[in-house]
């Protein structure tokens, strides 16, 4: 059976997320998940079922995530995962797009008195296991002819704990996370983020290979959200926009054409996704934007029209 059929039969979408990363996916005390990765899942659920809550989350460590997806344990993985060639090609996975453009950075203990990554020769560095970060770091230090000592933890929580306990001088991760992780320190001002970005980290949802329909669904739900922002459709004005005579908006919200049917979805899937979850900008602002504890500027994640590189193919 196709993944879509399986999902419909189950009545919910099974989505793999991190076990706790502010802004991306994090459960609150009641077990309600929030974050941009979580919203990506919810949008897919909304598109399929018209119900943004028809989704269940499987918290995964970085080590477990691909195996869980490969084995069919989850239907899609939305867990700040970097798109690389190997992962696309030999792990049997497909990246359905990018919901956050990131780059690897360093969080350092102010006490060591460093303000550039090139001064980190001989440093002890905390990393999370099973990430591209582990590989980038090696490459970077090797290229610069520097040495380092990696301390590899299973979860980002333990990584912060290790850093907080003084086990390492530096914590490395995607820049988006550094701020979040720093906020978990008991004294956030004791640490600072270095300006260097040592890698490209396009993060996005992942599906298994071999089911193009499902791949398309996830890819186009994400594209719809980005396009919605571009077209000015928000969850607040989605109902009004149904009456819009902009053909782009009409196709987007399913009032015109059979875009949904081509994907095996209801025609109003775009409307549901935007109405129930919001467009990309809303997702961003709600979870990681400047008004959140993470306080991240849009930066390169702004729409291409606004100087960023967030660009989605047209719904046509």
């Amino acid at each position: 059976a196709t993944t879509l059929e399986n999902v419909k039969e189950k009545g919910h979408l099974q989505c793999g997320v991190t076990s706790g990363l502010p802004g991306f996916s994090q459960p609150d005390e009641k077990g309600n998940w929030t974050g941009i990765d979580v919203d990506t899942c919810r949008a897919v659920a909304a598109a399929i079922f018209g119900d943004a809550n028809a989704v269940e989350f499987t918290p995964l460590t970085a080590k477990e995530r691909f195996t869980a997806l490969q084995s069919g344990e989850i239907d899609m993985l939305s867990r700040n995962t970097t798109w690389t060639l190997t992962r696309d090609a030999s792990l049997g996975l497909n990246f359905a797009g990018v919901n956050y453009y990131d780059g690897q950075g360093f969080l350092i203990n102010k006490g060591i008195g460093v303000d550039d990554a090139t001064q980190l020769d001989g440093a002890t560095i905390c990393i999370q296991a099973g990430t591209t970060t582990e590989l980038n770091l090696s490459d970077y230090f090797r290229a610069k002819g520097m040495e380092f000592k990696p301390i590899v933890f299973d979860t980002s929580e333990q990584t912060v704990q290790g850093f907080a306990a003084g086990r390492c001088d530096v914590l490395t991760s995607d820049r988006s996370q550094l701020a979040a992780l720093r906020s978990k320190l008991s004294d956030p001002s004791s640490a600072k983020i270095l300006p260097n970005t040592i890698s490209k980290e396009p993060l996005g949802p992942v599906v298994r290979q071999g089911d193009d329909q499902w791949f398309n669904i996830v890819k186009w739900v994400l594209s719809v959200q980005i396009n919605a922002e571009e077209l000015g459709v928000t969850s607040a004005n989605a109902d009004d926009m149904l009456k819009s005579d902009n053909p782009n908006i009409q196709r987007l919200l399913g009032t015109d054409g059979d875009m949904g049917a081509k994907l095996g979805l209801p025609d109003d899937f775009g409307y549901q996704a935007v109405k129930l979850v919001g467009n990309y900008g809303e997702m961003y602002d709600r979870n990681v934007g400047p008004d959140t504890p993470l306080g991240l500027d849009r930066g390169i994640n702004a729409l291409w029209t606004e100087g960023g590189i967030m660009y989605a193919p047209p719904v046509r």
Partner: protein, 361 residues
């Protein structure tokens, strides 16, 4: 002779004599005593201060903690999460009912001569899982459904250990019988099964169960993550259980087997009516000890992302709102486990002693 009323002579005052015999007999013992006493005196004081005197118990937010002593406030504020995980507040009575039933069926086991404690125990073993099966997840009898992903904390720890031990019992019995079978191939299969499971670390088992299992199963067959963790734990545990039960089977004298044969009971009746009842009773302490170790091992589900009690604590100690509460959190979990394990192990030791004497008479 009339002197039988004579009392034993007393060499010295009791406490002095006791100390001389038990603490200061010989220079070696004296040195030891003084050394240990010094260590005790120097460590107990600061510990007591941290635990009680300087500790903060009351308040409503993190600022109530002074940071000098322990911040027990953190525990009391998050207790609900530690016990029930994400289980919805308004439905927690269901879990409470299970806790109560658990207590009702097992606390009397510690009390000799409690009327009907055998029946309560049997209810605890066979009835409780059934009640729990309907009560905790809900979804039937008009109970609202609660996804297993919302279960957590102490409750999850208990569920894992409890189901693990009870489900592994029958499998363990079959494996033990198989390992003592006269058929070499059956025996071989059981030996291999038992030894392989006993050789691999639980976390590899859990890893396989939690993320790889669907790979081995036909497409479309799927269980919940929790169910899969349980399958892994149960199979792993059944190998240990089999070894415990095998010990009991071996301890049954050959005459019992022969007498059952002479009465014309077939293999299954011989085992079911004569051998197993005796063997199982004999190994109850072993089973209880296995339970304790399983109970402790359930903490490993943290590594596969289930929020058991250690998982809930681990996930909250990094809460930036609270300063340095890791130790308090760990001490709290340690205390919870200690109370359970120590209690149960005491019980099993009692049992062992009782079975021991019961054997001779």
């Amino acid at each position: 002779m009339t002197e039988s009323t004579m009392k034993a002579p007393k060499k010295a005052l009791r406490p002095v004599k006791w100390m001389r015999e038990n603490l200061f007999s010989g220079w070696f013992n004296t040195v030891l005593t003084l050394g240990v006493a010094y260590l005790l005196v120097t460590s107990v004081g600061p510990l007591l201060n941290w635990f009680f005197l300087d500790a903060n118990f009351v308040g409503s937010d993190p600022s109530a903690c002074t940071g000098v002593g322990a911040c027990w406030l953190f525990i009391s504020q998050r207790l609900n999460f530690f016990i029930y995980g994400f289980y919805p507040d308004e439905l927690q009575w269901r879990v409470d009912v299970m806790f109560l039933l658990l207590a009702v069926s097992f606390v009397p086991q510690f009390i000799e001569r409690f009327p009907g404690r055998k029946w309560l125990g049997l209810f605890g073993i066979f009835g409780l899982p059934i009640v729990g099966y309907f009560l905790i997840p809900g979804g039937s009898f008009g109970l609202e459904e609660v996804q297993s992903s919302k279960w957590g904390g102490l409750m999850l720890t208990l569920i894992l250990a409890y189901i693990g031990i009870i489900a592994s019992l029958p499998i363990g019995i079959l494996l033990a019988l198989g390992r003592r079978s006269e058929m070499p191939i059956i025996r071989g299969i059981c030996v291999v099964f038992i030894e392989v499971w006993r050789a691999v670390p639980l976390i590899t088992v859990l890893f396989m169960a939690s993320v790889m299992l669907p790979l081995f199963l036909p497409e479309g067959v799927n269980f919940e993550k929790l169910a899969r963790a349980l399958i892994g734990i149960t199979l792993w545990q059944s190998a240990y259980m089999a070894e415990v039960i095998r010990g009991g089977l071996q301890a049954i004298p050959r005459g019992q087997y022969e007498a059952a044969d002479a009465l014309g009971l077939g293999y299954w009746r011989k085992m079911g009516l004569v051998i197993l009842p005796q063997a199982l009773k004999m190994v109850i302490p072993g089973i209880v000890n296995t339970f304790i170790s399983l109970f402790k091992d359930t903490t490993l589900v943290l590594i596969i992302g289930l929020f058991d009690i250690l998982g809930t604590v681990q996930s909250t100690v990094t809460d930036p709102a609270w300063q340095n509460v890791a130790i308090e959190g760990y001490v709290f979990v340690a205390f919870c486990f200690w109370v359970f394990c120590f209690g149960i192990s005491r019980y099993s030791q009692n049992l062992e002693r009782k079975l021991d004497t019961g054997h001779k008479t």
